[in-house]
Symmetry: C2
Subunit: 305 residues, 2 copies
């Protein structure tokens, strides 16, 4: 079971304030010390659009000094991919919104244009020496429905998954960007996408908790054989379209669910909970979410060890 912390990227880029670089470093180091082995530390995007991510190169450089940590980043295009390689990221994710309306509105690109970009990035990566070549994930965002288009045709999603793989992605991810997924649709999507790309090419899901189904959806995905789960410490970032509602799944609650079930995450919950203080200090105006942090561990709790 791999818990991939996305707070420093997906969390912080939805915060109004910019977390100082030294606090980002402290946060990443503390989570790694708690046993988190993969962290999406930032995204290589326009500094003008997302000043919160302007120091991603420095963050990657620091994170790479932590032994055993997989350092992941998000990139929207080739320029970002080049910056990721220059910084030495281990894993690069390129999102493709399966809602073309959303894709056009968000990054002003059609599906064809994003697939072309994926192909160009994959070719660029394949020309690099093996020790500089990042793992390349193509992520299907708004997979469970779009706030502009509503539900997207399954056939469209499956064709895009196929095309991302053909373009050269090592792996396909599925993202419930809008929090529209439910346990049944999560199961169906995983089976269908795996049917097209193969089980080994879909290992991870990025689920949101916008409508409270985050953990139930994670449970359904786990039961379908998914082994990598994105989540954010304190559910950081919230959901800009729904004030007061958490966007990302809360890492603390997700780890608690798996450990309670006897599924080892390798993460020390007490240490993980302490990381909240760092984040609270780094973005003091942001609300931190989570049930476990308020209720505490059950009396006599034993994790999966």
């Amino acid at each position: 079971m791999l818990i991939s912390e996305v707070g420093p990227r997906d969390g912080l880029q939805n915060c109004a304030a910019t977390m100082p670089l030294d606090i980002k470093k402290k946060w990443i180091a503390a989570e790694a010390a708690a046993g988190v082995t993969e962290i999406e530390v930032g995204s290589f995007v326009s500094r003008k659009l997302l000043p919160q991510m302007a120091d991603t190169g420095d963050v990657v450089e620091f994170a790479k000094t932590i032994p055993g940590l997989t350092v992941a980043v998000l990139v929207p295009n080739m320029r970002g991919a080049e910056a990721a390689v220059a910084a030495g990221a281990h894993k690069v994710t390129l999102p493709l919104s399966v809602s073309e309306t959303h894709s056009l509105k968000n990054i002003r690109r059609t599906h064809d244009q994003v697939i072309d970009e994926a192909r160009a990035i994959a070719e660029y990566f394949s020309g690099l020496p093996a020790d500089e070549r990042p793992h390349f994930e193509g992520s299907l965002s708004t997979a469970f429905g779009c706030t502009l288009e509503g539900p997207i045709e399954l056939s469209t999603i499956l064709r895009l998954a196929e095309r991302l793989l053909e373009a050269g992605c090592d792996e396909i991810g599925v993202s419930d960007t809008t929090g529209y997924g439910d346990p049944a649709s999560i199961r169906t999507m995983i089976r269908e996408v795996r049917g097209v790309v193969g089980d080994d090419k879909l290992q991870g899901v990025h689920l949101h908790n916008t409508r409270g189904l985050g953990l139930a959806n994670a449970l359904a995905a786990f039961e379908e054989g998914i082994t990598t789960f994105d989540s954010s410490l304190g559910g950081l970032g919230g959901c800009p379209t729904a004030p007061g509602a958490s966007g990302n799944i809360v890492t603390e609650d997700l780890v608690f669910m798996f450990e309670s079930m006897g599924v080892a995450t390798g993460i020390d919950l007490e240490k993980l909970l302490k990381c909240r203080e760092i984040v609270a200090a780094g973005v003091p105006d942001e609300e931190l979410y989570g049930f476990l942090p308020r209720a505490g561990l059950p009396l006599g709790f034993v994790g999966a060890g």
Copy 2:
């Protein structure tokens, strides 16, 4: 799929303020109009201990005028059972805390004493004319662990389930009073208890959301074949031991999960969401929980019909 609303009982008895009788009636009528077919409307307990429940007789009398509504109440003892019959409740639940420490602290009774009370109540009920005889549930509370004792031996729990049935209960319920359950322990408990009492005698679970696992636990229980789920509108009542943390599962979120999955609850979500205004007006100092109420229904959402 039966959603059993417990807010007027489990929710209100954990509120500091007492909801006026006319607002209780308005709430119950509005939820029934939204399609909720079973409501635990109150408990017959000491007025001194729980003044919030002092008007339960009047509430039952009113609720019984709503066609098609199953009117449920909680009772701690024979005296409560007699009051329930006098008022005409359709369903009576007697809780038995599987933690004897908790039972002694909470109602000053040993397991043997509670079993004796269950037997006396069952005998009393069986002597009533069929149309006055309530359905009698024995509910195993703190089944997933106690805040005083920690986890309780499974063999103890199974023996108590067996004894409640022998004493004359029509049905056994399982309650995660403390929010200690997880999807794996929920599955195990349902299988084990059903192994002792029979599948048809365990149809319902009462789950809490104290540590955020409420809906994931409900999903696991559903997949084990459970058909009745307790929940509380707005998660009302919270958890007195964990300020800011919801106690009960939020009815709105639970209904949303099932309806999203294509599992019909018979409940109209838009109408259900409107009931929150009544509750907010009735206990203005209480926090109402829930993700769906903040985020709203997904674009293009179609329930199970």
